[in-house]
Symmetry: C14
Subunit: 77 residues, 14 copies
C-alpha cells in the first residue's frame, strides 16, 4: 500500500460525511420553509427566496469539500 490508499479511503468517507451534513441541513431548513408556507401561504414566495439563499450557502461549502474529495480520489502516485 502506498500513500494513495489512504487518499482513496479519505475521498469516499469524506464524500459520505459531507452528504450526511448537507442533506440533513437542507432537509431541516426546507422543512421549516414548507411549514412556514403552510401557515402563511401569502408569504410563500418570500420564504422560498430565503430558502434558496440559505441552501446555496450550504451547497457551496459542500461542493468545496467534494472538490477536496475529487482531488484525493484522482491523485496519481
Amino acid at each position: 500500500m502506498t500513500n494513495l490508499a489512504l487518499a482513496f479511503l479519505a475521498a469516499g468517507l469524506g464524500a459520505g460525511l459531507s452528504i450526511i451534513g448537507a442533506a440533513l441541513g437542507i432537509g431541516k431548513l426546507a422543512a421549516a420553509a414548507m411549514d412556514a408556507t403552510g401557515r402563511q401561504p401569502a408569504a410563500g414566495g418570500d420564504i422560498r427566496t430565503t430558502m434558496i439563499i440559505a441552501a446555496a450557502l450550504i451547497e457551496g461549502a459542500t461542493l468545496f469539500a467534494l472538490v477536496v474529495c475529487i482531488l484525493l480520489a484522482t491523485k496519481a502516485a
Copy 2:
C-alpha cells in the same frame, strides 16, 4: 493488498453514508410537506413545488458524491 483495496472499501462506505444523509434529509422535508398539505390542502400544489426544488438540491449533491464512489469502485490498478 494494493491501493485498490481501500478504494473499494471507501466506495461502499461512502455510498452507504451518503444514502443515510440523503434519505433522512428528504424524509424530513417530505414529512413537513405532507404535514403542511394536511393543514392547508389549498396550498398543496405550491408546497409540492417547493418540496421538489429542495429535494432536487439534496439529490444533486448526493449523486455528485455517488459519482465519487462509482469512480472509486471501478478504479483499475
Copy 3:
C-alpha cells in the same frame, strides 16, 4: 487476502447503511402522510401521491447505492 476482501466487506456494510437511511427516511415521511390523512381524510388521495413521489426519490438514490454494492460484491479478482 487480496483487494477483493475489502470490496466484499464494503458491499455488506454499504448495503446495511443504505437501508438504515432509506427505511428511516421513508418511515418518517409515511408516518407524516398517515398522520395528515388521519387529520384530513378528504385530502387522502393528494397526500398519498406526494408520499409516493418523495419515497420514489429516496428509493431511486438507494437503488443507485445498492447497485454500487452489487458491483463490489460480484467483482472478480
Copy 4:
C-alpha cells in the same frame, strides 16, 4: 484467512444493520398508522392501505439488501 472471511463478516453485519433500519422505519410508520386509526376509526381502511404501500417500499429495498448479504454468505472461494 482468505477473501471469504470478510465476505462472511459483511453478510452478518449487513443483515443486522438492514434490520435495524427496516424495523425502525416500519415501526415508526405503523405507529403513526395506529395513532391515526385511533383518532379517526372511520378512515381505518384507507390508512391501512397507505401503511401497506409504504411498508412494501421499505420491505422491497430491505430484501434487495438481504439478497446482497445472502450472496456474500454463500460465496464459494
Copy 5:
C-alpha cells in the same frame, strides 16, 4: 484462524443487531397500539389486527436475517 472465525463473529453480532432493530420497532408500534386502544377502546379489535400485520412484516424480515446468521453460525470449514 480460518474463514470460519469471522463467520462466527458475524453470526453473533448480526443476531444481536437484528434484535435491537426488531424489538425497538415492535415495541414502538405496540406502544402506539395500546395508546390508541386506551383512547378509543371501541376500536380495540381493529387496531390489534393492524398491529399484528405490521409486527408480522418486521418479524418476517427479522427471521430472514436470523436465517442468514444461523447459516453463518453452522458453516463447516
Copy 6:
C-alpha cells in the same frame, strides 16, 4: 487462538446486544400499557392482553437470537 475464540466473543456480545433491544422494546410497550391503563382503568384487561401478545413477539425473536448465541458459546472445536 482458533476459530472458537471469535465464536465465544460473538456469543457474549450478541447476547448483550439482544437484551438491550428486547428490554428497551418491552419496556417501551409496557410503559404505554400502564399509561393507557392509568387513563382508562376499565380497559385494563384488554390492554394487558395486547401487551402480552406484543411482548411475546419480541420475546420469541429474542430467544431465537439467544439460541444462536448458546450455539456459538458451546461449540466444540
Copy 7:
C-alpha cells in the same frame, strides 16, 4: 492467549450490555407505572401487577443472557 481470553472478555462485556438494556427497560416501565399510579391512585394495585408481569419478562430474558455470560466466564480450557 488461548480461546479463553476472548470468552472472558465476552462474559464481562455481555453482562454489562445486558444490564444497560434491562435496567433502562425496567426503569422506563416502572416510571410509567408510578406516573399512572400518581394520576389514578385507585388503580394502583392493578398497575403494580402489570408492572411486575412486564418486568418479569425482561428479567427472564436478562437472566438467560447472564447465564450465557456465566457459562463463558467459567469455561475451562
Copy 8:
C-alpha cells in the same frame, strides 16, 4: 499476556457499563416517583413502595452482573 489480561479488562468495563445502566434506570424511576409524589402527596407511601420493588429488581440483576465481574477480576491463572 495470558488469558487473565482480557478477564481483567472485561471486569472493569463490565462493572462500568453495568453502573451506567443501573444508575440511569433507577434515576429514571425515582424521578418519576418524586414527580408523582409531588403531584399527589397523599399517595406518597404507596408510590415509595412501588419504587423500592422496581429498584430492587434492577439492583438484583446489577449485582448478578457485578458478581460476574468480581469473578473475572479475581481469577487465578
Copy 9:
C-alpha cells in the same frame, strides 16, 4: 506488558464509566426532587427522604463497582 497493563486500563475506564452513570442518574432524580419541591413546598421533607433513599441505592452499586476498580488498580503481578 503483563496482565497488569490491561487491569490498570480497566480500572481507569471502569471508574470513569461508573461516574458517568451514577452522576447522570443522581442528577436526574435530584432534578425531579427539586422540581417537585418547587411545585409543592409543603411536601419538601417527604420528597427529600425519598431522594436520599434512591440516591443511596445508586451510590451503593457505584461504590461496589469502584471497589472492583480499586481492586484492579492495586493488583500486584
Copy 10:
C-alpha cells in the same frame, strides 16, 4: 506509507466533519429564520440580514478549516 498518507486521510475526514458541522449549523439558523418570517412577514428583511451575518460567521470558520484540509491534501512529500 510515508507521512503523506495520514495527511491525505486527515484532509478527507476533516472536510467531511467540517461540512457536517457547518451544514447543520446553517440549517438550524435558516430554519429559525424562515419560521420567524412565517410568523412576522413584516420583519422579513431584518431577519434575513441577521441570518446572513450569522451564516457568514459560520461560513468563515468553515472555509478556514477547509483551507487546512486543502493544505494537507496538496502537500508534497
Copy 11:
C-alpha cells in the same frame, strides 16, 4: 512500553469521563434548582439546601474516582 503506559492512559481517560458525568449531572440538577427557585422564590433557601446535598453525593463519588486516576497516574513501575 511497560504496564505503566496503559495506567497513564487510563488515568487521563478516566478523569475525562468522570468529569463528563459529574458536570452533566450537577448541571442538570442545578438547572432544576434554579428553575424551581424562579417559580417559587420563597422556597429558594430550602431548594438550595437540597441542591447542595445532591451535588455533594455526586461530587463524593467523582472524587473517589479521581483518586483512582491519581493513583494510576503516579504509579511507579
Copy 12:
C-alpha cells in the same frame, strides 16, 4: 512514518471537530436570536448586539484551536 504523520492527522481531525462544535454553537444561538427578533421586532438591534458578542466568544476560542491545527499541519520534521 515519522512523528509528523500523526501531527498531520491531528491537524485535519482537530479542524473538523472544531467546526462541528463552533457551527452548531453559533447556529443554536443565532436561531434563538432570530426567534426572539420574530417575537419582538422592536428589540431586534439589542438582540443582534448580544448575538455578535456571544458569537465572537465562540469564534475566538475556535480560531485559537484552529491555530493549534495550523501549527501542527505546517510542522517541519
Copy 13:
C-alpha cells in the same frame, strides 16, 4: 515509544473530554439561570448566587481533572 507516549495521549484526550463535560454542564445551568431571571427579574440576584455556587462545584472538579492531565503532560521519563 516509551510509557510517556500514552501519558501524552491521555493528557490531551482527558483535557478535551473534561471540557466537553464542564462546558455543557455550566452551559445548561447558566441557561436555566437566565431563563429563570427572564421570568422573575426580581429574584435575579438570588439566582445568580445559586448559579455561581453550582458552577464553582463543576469548575472545581474540572480543575482537579485538568491537574491530572497537566501531571501527565509534563511527566519526565
Copy 14:
C-alpha cells in the same frame, strides 16, 4: 515514531474536543440569554451581565485545556 507522535495527536484531538464542548455550552447559554431578552427586554442588561459571567467561566476552563494542547503541540523531543 517517538513519544512526540502521540503528543501531537493528543494536541489536535484535545483542541477539537474542547471546542465542541465550549461552543455548545456557550451556544446554549447565549440562546437562553437571547430568549429571555426577547421575552423581557427591560431585563436585557442584567441578563447580558449574567451571560458574560457564565461564558467567562467556560472560556477560562477551555483556555486552560487549550494551554495543555499548546504545551503538547510544541514539545521538543
